[in-house]
């Protein structure tokens, strides 16, 4: 029997958030609200040195003066920042020697998410620094990494153990006053990951952090700092799922990448926070500031697959400061039901012979709004800068919207910039062609969407590509226009 579009649409709409469950782990939670005392208390709790407390307080004072930005093409009820608890940590904090000692409930959570630690340890060779409600509770493969001199730990640990490294780099790419959410994050970040790759070292495995929002009413404020010293290479993965919940959860992370001379950082994200139910209720607010700086001959590559969150506000950027540096941005953003995504990138060309590539694929279905917002800026001294941007949008159904806001600012006559954007739907002829060859409509759509997103999926590390493909299917299969 033919599978009609209506049926497909219906199936998709009724598709519940598959990873929506809630793990009951006793938490040590701060009272709601935000003031200087809370900021100091967070800092104390983390046993931070005085300079760090001061740094946080400075950020808090800046944040108080700032207003929430409104320029993005999204509408939502603004979160009440005084109704959020700014710290929560699983209160059993043993340092595990092996996985057997980990809270079985936690292990079970990961199992249901399909993230089996031991399996990954054996098969994928991925060292996982798990952030569960802001505190890192398990780090694997530390030993292997240690031998190479690679530091991969939670940021609180890094502040204690490697204060001079953190102090030197923290806030250099995303300063406290950068924007409203970055300032908030700087004041109250509870945990996150820190990674340092020494000179000339090629990190032997993909580093990976799994984030989860777990405690009711807990905002997540991760802080990630990746420093790749001269001539080093690292590939970093970040992925997240969250349990379903009625009230909106705020997620305001900051990621800073520093690629020194000749270094390369590859940063991949699969984002699958709870997008809200089909009435558009609930869902995570994802307001993230991600930015990297490239010194001479360095390269930073952002790859993201955005399928979750009720509201996404995210612009992973590259500052191409050094000569011959390279910035890349590959993105797939999928929105369905009432999701809203305003995402894109900024490529700031400052050095000579800098190059950047932007490939952005937006897929919108249901009643969602999907925007690409990007900036390509070529400074007056950035001779021979080269940029290629491509933004393609795929619309499924006539109740969704696709928007493109590319800003291009060139101040150098040797700059070569190309920008292309297209908007289309899945052609009836394409589906007909597949049907004719015995491929049913649902599979045909999966095939077409996969082909549409292939350029980006190809950029993901092997281990992630599978999960990403799965997510795309969950988010989209059947939602046809």
């Amino acid at each position: 029997m033919a599978y009609t579009e209506e049926e497909l649409k219906k199936e998709l709409e009724t598709k519940e958030y598959e990873y929506g469950f809630y793990t009951d782990i006793e938490s040590d939670t701060f009272p709601n609200g935000l003031n200087e005392e809370i900021v100091v208390a967070i800092s104390k709790k983390k046993e931070e040195p005085e300079w760090m407390t001061e740094w946080r307080l400075e950020a808090f004072r800046i944040w108080k003066e700032m207003e929430e930005p409104e320029w993005a093409n999204v509408t939502y009820d603004k979160p009440d920042f005084q109704a959020i608890s700014y710290y929560s940590a699983p209160n059993k904090k043993p340092k595990y020697d092996s996985l057997d000692e980990v809270d079985p409930e936690l292990l079970d959570t990961f199992k249901r998410l399909g993230i089996s630690l031991d399996e990954q340890k054996k098969l994928a060779g991925v060292a996982v620094d798990i952030v569960m409600d802001s505190v890192s509770v398990a780090t694997t493969f530390k030993k292997t990494l240690g031998e190479k001199g690679i530091i991969f730990c939670s940021i609180s640990e890094a502040i204690r153990e490697y204060p001079e490294l953190v102090r030197k780099h923290l806030g250099t790419v995303v300063p406290q006053k950068d924007n409203f959410y970055a300032a908030l994050n700087s004041a109250v970040f509870s945990d996150g990951s820190f990674c340092y790759i020494p000179k000339g070292v090629r990190c032997p495995m993909e580093l990976s952090t799994y984030f989860r929002i777990n405690q009711a009413g807990t905002g997540q404020f991760e802080r990630t700092l990746v420093v790749a010293d001269e001539g080093s290479y690292v590939s970093y993965l970040e992925g997240c799922t969250a349990p379903s919940r009625d009230e909106n959860q705020l997620h305001a992370a900051v990621v800073e990448l520093i690629a020194l001379d000749d270094a390369e950082i590859k940063y991949s994200t699969v984002q699958n926070w709870f997008p809200g139910n089909k009435e558009g209720k609930g869902g995570v607010f994802n307001f993230v500031t991600k930015r990297g700086i490239c010194e001479k001959n360095a390269k930073i590559s952002w790859t993201q697959v955005e399928t979750g969150s009720a509201v996404t506000w995210k612009y992973p950027s590259c500052i191409l400061k050094g000569d011959n540096s390279i910035g890349e941005f590959y993105s797939i953003a999928v929105t369905n039901n009432f999701q809203q995504a305003d995402t894109g990138t900024k490529m700031i060309h400052l050095g000579k012979n800098t190059r950047s590539t932007i490939i952005s694929k937006g897929i919108s279905a249901g009643k969602s709004q999907n925007s690409y917002r990007g900036l390509v800026q070529v400074g007056s001294r950035a001779t021979n800068a080269r940029n290629f941007s491509q933004c393609d949008s795929l619309l499924m159904g006539n109740e969704c919207g696709a928007h493109t806001f590319p800003y291009i600012e060139a101040k150098n006559s040797t700059a070569q910039i190309e920008h292309e954007a297209t908007t289309s739907k899945i052609g009836e002829d394409q589906i007909f062609y597949c049907n004719q060859r015995g491929i049913d409509t649902e599979k045909a759509i999966a095939l077409i969407v996969n082909g549409f997103s292939k350029e980006v999926l190809n950029k993901l590390p092997m281990e992630f590509a599978v999960e990403a493909q799965k997510l795309l299917e969950i988010s989209l299969e059947g939602s046809v226009g």
Binding site: L395, S413, I417, S424
Partner: protein, 438 residues
Amino acid sequence: MDLKEKLVSSFLAFENNVDVDNPVHDIRTAAIKNFEAKGFPSKKEEAWKYTSLNSLQKIDFSIFPKMESNLEFKDVKKYFLNEIDTYKIVFVDGVYSSFLSETTHEGVDVCLMSSALNKPTYKAVIDVYFNKIACKDDSLTSLNTAFSKEGAYIYIPKNKIPKKPIEIIHFATGSEAAALLQPRNLIIAEENAELQIIERHQSLTTNEVLTNAVTEIYAAKNAIVDYYKIQNDAHSSSLIDNTYIDQKDASHVKVHTFSFGGKLTRNNLNFYQNGERIESTMKGVTIIEGKQLVDHHTLVHHIEPNCESHQDYKGIYDENATGVFNGKIIVEKLAQKTNAFQQNNNILVSDKASINTKPQLEIFADDVKCSHGCTIGQLDKDALFYLQSRGIPKKEARALLMYAFANNVLESVRIPELKTRINKIIANKLGVNLGFDL
């Protein structure tokens, strides 16, 4: 007193000069209120992010034009498209010059806004069309509406085609140290009507001139409107051009904008497609240098199905010139089968020149073909070498390539004499004799 206060306080005096019982009195009053509330746009507004009006606001513009100045036709002949016969509506310092003009009422109305606003014969048309499509929210459009008094009024009835193209020319003589001109045009093409308009603003001195023009164009079913804007003004003049176009079923409207002169030029070109099978075309060539700034803001609002829009803007920027392009395409949910294309190509000749471009798509319908392309680059070095190796001097070779770059925008100009004229301006601008007759 800053310019805004001056304008607001002059409004009463202006109203006393014109007829207060006039039905447009209410429209003017509402408009000045909106302008008073909003003021001049600042760089904080997204639409004015790259273009600042601050320096213009510091100039003490005189708002009311003096009486007609004496201009000899032989002195200004070169600004007309004198190779062919045209209707002419000419204004000198904002005042209609009957001596230089050639209007008509034979079958079609090619005449003045002031008479259209004041004579009862036109009341029915004014009621239906005046200030209907122009944005009532926009502060600069409101400013123009508040002081709207004079401009071109063109009405082409059903199935009529005027015998010749219409030229609308605004001269500024510099009788004032700094003059603010606010022409207001209304152009209506009824069913199956067809017309061609050439518009030009020309300052004859180095005194400051600021023109804040509003043009409303209504194209009814099957109407064809070709509008050519020649912006080759003195470097002391600034122009803010607000054009609003309302199109009905199967109408074709083409707007060509040639921006070569002026200190600051801002074009707000807005198309609203209120019908099916409509075609809208916007083309532009910008060649500027010095400290010039040209800012193109286009909007195409696709409201109903089966329509097309084409945009093609080319820019060449030398010295310290700044170019801005912001092309916005909105496709409403109902506007299925829309084809919308947008192209913006730029060449930066100097390291001090800059270009800010933002091709923007907002799409709510799924069965559409929309694309935009945008490039910033240089002249092809191989092509330059090829021409030089065949004995063409570098300067000419460059001019030739730049001419080729801009050429496909010129191709759709339907008045051959105008095309030649524009080619001459381009050759002049690039400082070369191309050695063949374009």
